[in-house]
Symmetry: C2
Subunit: 81 residues, 2 copies
């Protein structure tokens, strides 16, 4: 038995997180660039995070949540993670 998530689950979790970021960002009428600058995250890295193409770190989750004026745990809840 393995408890470890497969590659497909991993991808889905990253995609869901990115979608939650994008949804909050759009709700605030922020551009991706504006959110990157507010969060102190590199702009191209932010794009990859939103598309679920990067395994985002806890410190970047915290920074992005600050930029979105919400709690990191809310962002994960909204992503269904």
């Amino acid at each position: 038995m393995t408890r470890v998530s497969g590659a497909r689950d991993n991808e889905a979790n990253l995609t869901r997180f990115g979608a939650a970021v994008r949804a909050r960002r759009n709700a605030l009428s922020l551009s991706q660039e504006a959110l990157a600058d507010l969060s102190g995250v590199d702009r191209s890295h932010m794009g990859k995070i939103e598309r679920g193409e990067r395994n985002v770190t806890l410190l970047n989750i915290v920074r992005i949540a600050e930029g979105l004026n919400c709690k990191p745990s809310d962002l994960l809840s909204e992503a269904g993670i």
Copy 2:
């Protein structure tokens, strides 16, 4: 004005996350090694995460939460993040 967290905040967030993992692990009477094996996270990496010495990734947060039988968002809430 900078919205970006300072080094001290970063450290505090990682330490709080590690403490939340440890608290749940102890509540389940799991050894650090057992949790590492359940989660599929390298044992020495798990030790560093619990001590707040590593910037844990979202996929490892998900794996650790699975090992602890809880939601990743709960783990962040319990860490006050």
